[in-house]
Structures are given as structure tokens and as C-alpha cells.
Symmetry: C2
Subunit: 217 residues, 2 copies
DNA sequence: CTTCGATTCAAACATATGTTTAAATCGAAC
DNA sequence: GTTCGATTTAAACATATGTTTGAATCGAAG
């Protein structure tokens, strides 16, 4: 007995709760969602949340971490690769490539696994969530990668005043967040416009938009 | 007795509730805010909300309408003026002017009256609010002006495919919403960056950004 | 089969919420 | 000063929430 082999069921229960919570948090919001709704839809007992996670807040944290840690790893790798490449060539990285390195994995993440689409909408919203609980957890996880993105962009646009760069980055993130949140866009869009809301299509529109904005004279 | 002259106090109470609610809804969110918090801070009785407004939901509606109706009027006037001017001159309106006509009154509104800053943050968030109550009320009020903005932009950029224009507009609105929400930005920003968050400064950064994005080739 | 820790379960708990109620209070009109 | 409708007030109501509890159940190890 080298390893504490927990019952097979435990993982199931935890995953079921995470999946259900992700769905509800994304579609209804953190505070509006009750644990009873989550556990009811997941088919597990109400007390399971507190048993496995400790509290509703800790559950939210787990929902974020499960997907955000891998996603951040991908984004970090891509950004660092671009930085190394630039140093190697002695040239500054291209603005478009930097933005793409951050945005593309983010939007593509939607299709990586079932449920990820809900998660992407959740993240898009968390940027501006009024609730302290949500924002605190979110920014703790997103902060470091945000700083790396900022620094890499500074390499790409060294002539831009830092303050301006900082705000333009926020404008770009605002556009991204809005896009992410409209992820499941069928319910928002007027008829005839829902064609262009596939990931590829969105990328081909969003990246030129933010690149042009970032490089505006 | 030509007119039902209600007691002087009624207006006070209603205004006090609206002010307090606006503040709480903006800073904490609709569902997280309790009527007891609102009435407590306003110094009025708990039941006053239901007496004067009917329900918490109706209160939210009143909070939106009080400021959004006048603000929309200003935006509508400016946009229609630009349209008329373009027709008169037989030229297409400039993209920048159109965006400016929408964005400038929005951001400037912050300084128009005390409390408006909270309201602007509230509006910025409502674009992506997960709660149906909030979103429904918000979109009912924002829908018509959004359509006018879309049509005016189509005049400015007739060669752009409608679908692309539509999404670029959403990107721009995302950037605007993000900016609005960071209205009281002191608490979000790292030290050294809070200089540039005055209204004038933000306008001079945001408008070129979205214009460039909208006109990107 | 028995044992034992991990997990599940139904029930209860304490608290907070939006809303309603019925009495009290106010302020002008007569 | 009395009257009457509008407003305010304190209390109660019904319900919903996150959490805790203690017994029941499970599943493998001995």
C-alpha cells in the first residue's frame, strides 16, 4: 500500500461536481448559483461539495484552477518562445505574433474539451465581475501571465509610452473578454450574424482588430 | 387641487434609495446587494423599496432608466447629427467621428453628476452580466441606440462585410465596456499607471484604438 | 467474514433574503 | 382641530442559502 488509493468513486464525484459547477457558474453566475442546483444536476449529494472542497468558494477556486493552470502554461510557452526567437534574431517580436500567442490558445481552448466553452465564457466575465470572491481568485491566477504578456508587448512596441501601452493592452483584453463571453453567441446575436462566430472566424477578425489598435499611430 | 401633490418627502426617499442602490449595484453587484444594505445606507426604512418601486428588480430598472434614458438621448442626437451632416455633404461620415459620438458622451457622463461614476461602472459590467434580470433590463434600454450606432458605422464603412463590421463593433464595445468598468481604476491598477485614467486621457487613447481596429485592412 | 477508514446520505441548523402586513405617523385640506 | 390619504415604521413571514452532523453505506485489507 504505497499510495493512498482512494475509492474509484471519489474522482467521479469530484469531477461531476466540477463539471456541473463550471456550467452553472458560467451560465448563471457564482452567487446566483446554489449548491443545491449544482449537486442536483450532478446527481450527487448536497454535502459532497463541502466534503470534497470545503466550501462554495473553494469550489470556485477549483473550477478556475482545473482549466486555467494548463491554459496559462500553453500561453506562457508560446510567449516565451516568441521572446527567445526575437532575442535570437536580434529583432523585436511582431505585435501581431505576440497578441496571437495569447489570444489564439485562449479562444481555441473552447474546443479542446467538453465544458471548456462554458469555462471560456466564465473567464471572459471574471475580468469585470463585481464580486470580490470571483475577482480575487481570478486575478491571482491570471496576474502572472498578464505581466508576461505586457512585457512581451513592450518588446514589440518599445517606442510606445508605457502608460499608453498599458491601456491599449486593457482595451485589447476588453475586446477579448467580450468575445469570450459571447462564446455561446447564438442567444445574443440577431439572426444572420451567428455564422461568423466559429473560433477560426473570430480569430481572423479579432487578431487584426487588436493588432491595428495596438499599433495605431 | 389640480395636481396630486405628493408629500415633499417622497421624492427624497425615492432619490435616496436610487442613489444608494446605484452605488451598491455598481460596486457589489445586483444579486449580492441586499435591500437591507441599500436602505440601511440610505437611512430609509426597508419596506420603502417595495412601497415606492414594487420589487428589487423594479428598483434595478429604475436605476438604469434614470441615467440611461438621458444618456441615450445625447448619444442619439450626436449620431443623427453626424448622419445628417454626411447626407448633406454627400460624403460618408468618418469612422472616428461616429465612434467618438458614441464613446465620448459615455465616458464624459462620469463627471456629469455625482454618482454617475458608479453608474458607468455598472453599465460597463452589464454587457456581460450573467444574470438574466440584469441583462434583460439592460438590453431593452441599450438595444435601440446600439442599432443606430451599427447603421451609422455601416455608412462610414460600406465596403466592410456586414458580418465583419458587426463583430468589430462588438470588439470595440468590449474595449469600451472594459474601460468603463475600470472607471474607478485606482483599486485595479498597479502603481504608476493610475495617472492616465482621467476621462480626457482615456478618450485620447481609446478612440484612436477602436478607430484603428475598425478600419484595419 | 470481519474490520475500518473513506465516502455518501438525509436531516437539521443557523442565517439571510425579498416581501407583506398592520399599526403609527405625517401633512395638508376642510 | 379634525379628517383622510399618503407615507413610514417595526415586526413578522415564507423561503432559500451554505454549512454541519451523525448515522448509513461502501470497498478493499486482514
Amino acid at each position: 500500500m504505497k499510495v493512498k488509493k482512494p475509492k474509484t468513486r471519489q474522482k467521479d464525484t469530484k469531477q461531476l461536481i466540477l463539471d456541473s459547477a463550471e456550467r452553472f457558474f458560467a451560465r448563471e453566475g457564482f452567487h446566483v448559483t446554489s449548491l443545491r442546483a449544482i449537486t442536483g444536476a450532478a446527481g450527487v449529494n448536497l454535502a459532497a461539495v463541502n466534503y470534497h472542497f470545503g466550501s462554495k468558494e473553494a469550489l470556485l477556486e477549483a473550477v478556475f484552477e482545473r482549466r486555467l493552470i494548463p491554459l496559462n502554461q500553453v500561453r506562457r510557452d508560446k510567449l516565451e518562445q516568441i521572446r527567445d526567437e526575437a532575442v535570437e534574431k536580434g529583432k523585436r517580436p511582431s505585435t501581431k505574433k505576440v497578441l496571437q500567442a495569447f489570444i489564439e490558445p485562449t479562444l481555441r481552448f473552447k474546443e479542446s474539451e467538453p465544458g471548456a466553452e462554458d469555462f471560456i465564457a466564465l473567464v471572459g466575465r471574471s475580468f469585470t465581475d463585481p464580486d470580490d470572491t470571483v475577482r480575487k481568485i481570478f486575478f491571482r491566477l491570471i496576474g502572472p501571465i498578464f505581466e508576461l504578456l505586457f512585457e512581451t508587448l513592450r518588446d514589440a512596441l518599445p517606442e510606445l509610452p508605457e502608460n499608453l501601452l498599458y491601456w491599449r493592452l486593457h482595451f485589447a483584453l476588453g475586446a477579448l473578454a467580450h468575445t469570450m463571453h459571447m462564446s455561446g453567441c447564438d442567444k445574443f446575436l440577431p439572426v444572420g450574424f451567428s455564422d461568423g462566430c466559429g473560433t477560426e472566424s473570430l480569430l481572423s477578425m479579432l487578431i487584426p482588430f487588436v493588432t491595428a489598435g495596438m499599433e495605431a499611430t
